[in-house]
């Protein structure tokens, strides 16, 4: 288990403030946040490149806060691969094993690791001659060959083109499955979360805002920032009344966890039904409004509806055509009370 206990680190423009996280053994843990949220510093502090100004780091029970990077047994993979350009792929992967005396042992380990990443045929090549995806595989193999107690991935997929990224994403899931290594993976791309993460932490400005399973983060964000980051487009300020409803303007929205007092309400745009004819209530929230705009977006259609407050609804193209609505039409919206997620209001959303 990797425990980051109240770690602070200040490095000029980037900083971590009192970050606490704990990553279970064998867990795939993703840290999600916009650029400049201090994610790379967090990883480099875990790896031992920086010593925290305050706080402790524990790995499998031992305090490694003051252990130098070379003795931590924590692997690191950067976004831009960082292969040693003057060494072959084989020498890159074997770099950390060089102190072992037995060349046959090293070769065996290197080949094993290269095979795991499907780059066995590239061992004699130099990094400059490899594609981005191949370089990133080599970088991962180089870290894994050390059998690290934890593997840190700093935006490992961000520099790759879309197709390579998808392949390598699947590959990462497979490697995690095969090796059972504890992985901390940081990214600003929410897509990577659902395929890979057991749990997610959302970071902003050096702070951890929310930690949970992808499902929890996706459905029950705890702040406007997280809600905006995971694509919740309907964010309303309202007042909870203690009877399970929240007043938003003239509307009364039933919500499962409605708390009294000023609150924010988040509703995912794809959880709202839209129809020209009245929708059966069945315990759902029903709202009447007028279509403002219709914006096709690939396979989806985004509909904006004025119902006193502005609702955004996402439909599939097929679903949209079946409703037959056009801008200016009066429409009925419906969503379950469980789709309306309520949390205490925070500061203004920035994302």
């Amino acid at each position: 288990m990797l425990v980051i206990d109240s770690v602070s680190k200040s490095l000029g423009e980037f900083s971590l403030s009192n970050v606490s996280l704990s990553v279970e053994d064998g867990e795939y843990f993703i840290v999600l946040g916009p650029t400049g949220a201090g994610k790379t510093i967090l990883l480099e502090t875990i790896a031992g490149i920086y010593t925290p100004d305050a706080g402790r780091i524990l790995l499998n029970g031992r305090d490694i806060t003051d252990v130098p990077a070379r003795e931590r047994r924590i692997g690191m993979v950067y976004q831009d691969y960082m292969l040693f350009p003057h060494l072959t792929v084989e020498a890159n992967i074997g770099f950390g094993l060089k102190s072992r005396a037995d060349p046959a042992f090293i070769r065996g380990k290197v080949e094993e690791s290269a095979d795991l990443l499907n780059i066995g045929h590239l061992l004699q090549r130099y990094p400059g001659t490899l594609s981005g995806g191949e370089q990133q595989r080599a970088a991962i193999a180089r870290a894994l060959v050390m059998e690290p107690e934890a593997l840190l991935l700093d935006e490992p997929l961000s520099a790759l083109d879309v197709k390579t990224r998808e392949n390598l994403r699947a590959e990462l899931a497979r490697i995690h499955e095969a090796t059972g290594t504890t992985i901390v993976h940081i990214t600003h791309n929410f897509e990577e979360v659902f395929d890979l993460a057991d749990r997610v932490a959302i970071m902003r400005g050096g702070d951890v805002i929310q930690v949970g399973t992808p499902e929890e983060i996706f459905r029950r964000p705890n702040s406007d920032f997280v809600a905006g980051f995971v694509g919740v487009e309907n964010l309303f300020c309202g007042t909870g009344s203690g009877d399970g409803t929240v007043a938003v303007g003239d509307l009364r929205i039933r919500a499962e966890n409605a708390i009294p007092g000023p609150v924010s309400v988040a509703i995912r745009p794809e959880e709202i039904l839209l129809s020209k004819t009245p929708l059966p209530e069945n315990g759902k929230n029903v709202v009447i409004g007028r279509v403002d705009s219709v914006r096709p977006n690939g396979g989806l259609v985004r509909v904006s509806v004025d119902a006193g407050v502005q609702f955004r609804v996402t439909l599939t193209r097929q679903g949209f055509e079946e409703t037959g609505v056009a801008p200016g039409d009066a429409v009925h919206l419906a969503f379950r009370s469980s789709a309306a997620h309520v949390y205490p209001p925070g500061e203004e959303e920035e994302a």
Binding site: A47, I49, A69, R72, G75, F84, P85, F95, G96, R142
Partner: protein, 293 residues
């Protein structure tokens, strides 16, 4: 990597390497700005060419005298001494300047660092006679360093160590700054990765950073060597003897006159050209991976 783009003649260069404005010149319009720049730059180059041609014409008209001077043991000995002293200064620079360059490249900006950087650059801005005096006063027999070192038998005044120390002083910024540039080009993340792979700071430096900066080390050393062997004012203050080549030419100019000193100078030009040409060629085989960092 493209080498020598500045000195290559676009008329003779292959079409790919020539800048596009040149190829288009005949068909389209003349870019007067670029043409003007070429003329102005040409004047500058022209002075050097003219000076060399002037000397070469005179010298090649009397090859017997040139050969007699060039083959004299005095000239050969002085050239070897100059090159050797320069090389010794460069070796000392590599030994002490490389760690300094690394620290400067990797430390975060601070007032102290700014001060150290200025100190490194001091020999660049001082008149060479001032540099010579600084070295002389420190290393003379009664100087702060000269006195204790002469106790143990290391004399600097009018001796080879004095020449080397003066050369070291004036050449050091060239080496340190070039080496530092090289280190700065090696991403810190590469070193971080090496450390997570179990390498200590020195192992990382030796196996990652230094191999990726070899070309800068080489060109820094060549630059510093060129600067060292060309030094005159800095050296004569502390070591008029043994004659380095600059001193020999000056001595010959003031005693024998133009004829002999010009022949020595021309010999030096030929030898220096040859040596630096070889040194430049050798960079091709060095640090091929620098570009990929």
């Amino acid at each position: 990597m493209k080498t020598g783009t500045l000195s290559s003649d676009p008329l003779r260069g292959d079409g790919e390497a020539a800048p596009s404005w040149w190829r288009e010149r005949g068909r389209r319009h003349i870019d007067w700005c670029t043409a003007g720049f070429c003329i102005m730059g040409g004047l500058l180059v022209g002075i050097t060419v003219l000076a060399l041609a002037n000397m070469a014409t005179a010298e090649l008209a009397d090859p017997v005298h040139l050969f007699k001077v060039a083959a004299s043991s005095e000239v050969i000995g002085s050239i070897l001494l100059t090159f050797g002293a320069g090389a010794s200064a460069v070796l000392l620079l590599i030994l002490f300047g490389t760690p300094l360059a690394y620290v400067l490249a990797r430390s975060r900006p601070s007032r102290f660092k700014g001060v150290v950087e200025s100190i490194v650059d001091i020999p660049l801005i001082l008149p060479h006679t001032v540099a010579g005096l600084l070295v002389y006063l420190l290393f003379m027999r009664r100087g702060w360093l000269g006195a204790p070192l002469s106790e143990v038998g290391l004399a600097f005044e009018d001796a080879l160590p004095g020449t080397i120390v003066a050369m070291l002083f004036v050449a050091s910024p060239f080496y340190v700054n070039t080496m530092r540039e090289g280190f700065e080009k090696v991403p810190v993340h590469l070193e971080n990765v090496a450390r997570t792979l179990g390498a200590g700071t020195f192992t990382t430096f030796r196996t990652v950073t230094l191999p990726l900066s070899l070309r800068h080390m080489y060109s820094g050393a060549v630059l510093a060597w060129g600067r060292a062997i060309g030094e005159f004012a800095g050296v004569i203050m502390i070591a008029y003897y043994p004659f380095i080549i600059s001193t020999l030419i000056y001595y010959s100019f003031t005693t024998d006159g133009i004829h002999t000193s010009r022949s020595i100078a021309f010999t030096v030009i030929l030898v220096s050209f040859g040596v630096f040409y070889l040194l430049r060629r050798m960079t091709r085989y060095l640090g091929r991976y620098d570009d990929r960092v």
